[in-house]
Point group: C2
Chain length 339, copies 2
DNA sequence: TTGAAAGCGATACCAT
DNA sequence: ATGGTATCGCTTTCAA
């Protein structure tokens, strides 16, 4: 690897001049600039990240993490990964400020962003689906803040990157899985957290698309559990009673899944329903072990957290921006043997 | 984060002294040493990896990659990941020397190790199962070389870390998957690359264990394809003819899988066999699209390469050794929708 | 036994 | 417009 020093010697100039050229800070004789640029190109100069990291150390860089994650089991692993990454990057001097809240309140999230926008250079956010939040995100971006949306995207915004699941493919995978399961279920019940949640709608879309390939298959009913176990329990009891033909369930919400499973257990002692759910949270795993849930789709919560922090570090400390703005997790099918 | 400089000021000594204490280089007044150690502990001193990386730059560090991977499709992604990591760490000054060969020849691999042992500080190796290789690995370790086994372990050796699949769990997962598949297959055919390959034996073991939980299930036949498509084609034709009761196949080898599938196609035009295979290589994917193979177990080839290089970098440039010596990939179930 | 200083690579700033 | 110098954090070497 060539260094700036070597480049300077080769071109007969000082390191400062080379730096000015390569970082386009102007004030350089055009001929010299051209020479420097060409030799840098020719020798494939690439800055040593360690040097850059050391420089960045002086800037007291800070990232804010804003997530309405409290009480949602799926996020436990995401948060754990973020904390682990916090430790790792703290060694380089990166600071983290946390704003974990409970519930999807637009005003609360907007206020959190406003409050933090002055003191941070990057923002990792699980954004609520709302134009107001999009606006806030754009505000951050235009102030030079590096913004990563996590687990839920805000595609209409100017965020730099999205890290999270492919919701539609999750639904499709669940549907294809149903199509190869023993018992060959044809009448599907689907529970969503809420139709308000884009991700849940996309899962349903994907599921429907996959199900259409199964001869004779149909969606018998779709209902919402508000990501709440009690509501999931009650609604599921009602729906299963009203639709005795249902022979399989797709639990597109992870929030109310446990309640739904309890309802299934109450009405179907014989485990005669095929059930596919999301995320290997403790209650879901319990229901797998009890053979109530047949398979689970795993969406790499840990990788989501790790990746988000890594993008921020790379940008702030090394000036590297990934070439793709979407960092999509694979949907993985997990059974008991590969949990 | 505290720095060595701050520590030195706090303790009223020079940076050099602090360094000598924290790295146990001796020659320090015991009282001062104790004070320094205590303050470092109290303030949770941890070295900045960027500083360390810059120092390591001067050592011209090199890692050797030794793999009998030529012609084995699975390794394409592993190699691609290693190359990507090579680029990344080249920026820090890490050098890589490659020894990719074709075929499992113990003498060849041993010679490669001998040849490289003088010029490298780390070794990433896909070791052949042989006591002679174990010996060579131990030789490297005692010479201070950091050794990572990749994709195949050498558990009897003193290697520092293993990165690769959990073979037994792969077999178990395949077995459990069979147990929930439509058609509820009971008579299984299993193809191995070779019983010589530990990983393949373990897969079979895991599969058998899982199959035992299925009432009425049995292994109808086990045969070897030598990781060769032609041999796989021929043997499979023979076996399927001899065992018409077989209603599902577990392809524990990835080498001869394509040949096996061609044999299945020739004899079972109706796709009435359930088939589970390993690795999403192009021929396997083709057979999935043709609905010959029902599901594939994916073992994160890319992550395997990335992780191996990262362990080497962390050790050589930051002096960090992971707390676990086994880096086991999850077995993921892939269908067409989540390939 | 200890401190002072040089240097890894990149950058910021000051003086010219 | 350009060069020189200090600095980020750590290690190594040399001198005392």
């Amino acid at each position: 690897m060539v260094t700036i020093k070597q480049l300077a010697e080769l071109c007969g100039v000082s390191r400062g001049t080379v730096d000015r050229v390569l970082n386009n800070r102007g004030k350089v004789n055009p001929e010299k600039a051209e020479l420097i640029r060409r030799t840098a190109e020719r020798l494939n100069y690439q800055p040593n990240p360690a040097g850059k990291a050391l420089i960045a150390r002086r800037k007291n860089l800070t990232v804010a993490i804003v997530m309405p994650s409290v009480g949602i089991a799926f996020f436990d692993d995401v948060i754990a990964a973020l904390k682990q990454a916090e430790q790792k990057y703290a060694l380089f001097g990166l600071k983290v400020v946390w704003r974990l809240s409970r519930g999807y309140d637009v005003a609360v999230q907007a206020a959190a962003i406003d409050e933090l926008a002055d003191e941070v250079q990057a923002l990792i956010i699980n954004p609520i689906d709302d134009p107001h939040i999009v606006e806030k995100i754009n505000g951050c971006v235009s102030r030079g803040i590096f913004v990563v949306t996590l687990n839920n995207d805000a595609p209409q915004s100017k965020r730099h990157a999205y890290v999270g699941p492919d919701y539609r493919s999750g639904g499709e995978t669940a549907g294809e899985l149903m199509s190869i399961l023993a018992g060959e279920p044809k009448n599907f019940g689907v529970t969503l957290g809420s139709r308000q949640i884009l991700g849940h709608r996309l899962r349903l879309e994907g599921f429907v698309r996959a199900i259409q390939k199964i001869p004779g298959a149909r969606i018998a009913a779709v209902w919402e559990d508000g990501d709440d176990d009690i509501q999931g329990y009650e609604t599921t009891k009602t729906m299963l009673t009203q639709h005795p033909e249902i022979d399989a369930l797709f639990l597109a919400s992870s929030g109310g899944a446990y309640g739904t499973c309890r309802a299934v257990r109450a009405l179907h002692a014989e485990n005669d329903l095929r059930i596919v759910a999301f995320d290997t949270t403790p209650p879901i795993v319990e229901m797998m072990k009890a053979h109530v849930i047949d398979a689970v789709l795993y969406q790499h919560p840990h990788t989501q957290g790790t990746r988000a922090m890594q993008l921020v570090y790379d940008y702030l400390f090394n000036g590297i921006e990934s070439d793709h703005d979407q960092h999509i997790m694979q949907n993985e099918i997990r059974l008991l043997a590969n949990l």
